[in-house]
Symmetry: C2
Subunit: 117 residues, 2 copies
């Protein structure tokens, strides 16, 4: 596994790994679901509450996509009744650090429309 | 303008600024176009070459979207013939640093299908 540092001065204009990453996290709601998990939500209902406007059906699909991408794992807790929890994998948690940096950028640069403020 | 640092331990599960940021960069090809600009492409044709599989029509639309989002600026160079250049704004360049970190994550964690390798 590489630990390549990228340098803007020698950056090639296209990277297929980066493009593939955005195929995954660019899907509608995907980044917001990841952020909810990063913020400590683990149960379906908590994630649903944390992502306003997303239907349960779409959340369910997105969680499956993120699981297939290796970013999220679904754990069945052997309680009665069983409790399903969603957690970031190591891959997802590492991505989470970058998403946090992106959130900091957003706080600094994004202006929300007045009605959302 | 704030310089808030986010702390995972006290992160709320949803942030409207972050969600708005992904409304913009989550659009198909948007992050790849930004990366091409980050990698030094300035002319429409160079960006088009750097983003395999995107039609010129879509690139044109995406550049307009990114301009509307304040991430990209379109400059008309007063040469003969005039030369149109696209550059990242300060807001876009700051985002670019985060996208570079995301690219580093992708190089470390994303596996491409064999046919793309």
């Amino acid at each position: 596994m590489s630990h390549r540092k990228l340098d803007i001065a020698s950056l090639r204009p296209y990277c297929p790994y980066y493009a593939a990453a955005f195929d995954s996290i660019g899907r509608r709601w995907a980044a917001t679901v990841l952020r909810a998990l990063l913020g400590g939500a683990t149960r379906f209902g908590d994630i649903a509450t944390a992502v306003p406007g997303m239907t349960d059906k779409l959340l369910s699909q997105r969680l499956k996509d993120l699981e297939a991408d290796g970013l999220v794992e679904r754990q069945v807790q052997p309680t009665t009744p069983v409790r399903i929890e969603y957690r970031l994998t190591e891959k997802g948690a590492e991505l989470g650090k970058v998403l946090l940096a992106l959130n900091e950028w957003a706080l600094e640069w994004i202006e929300l429309p007045a009605e959302a403020g």
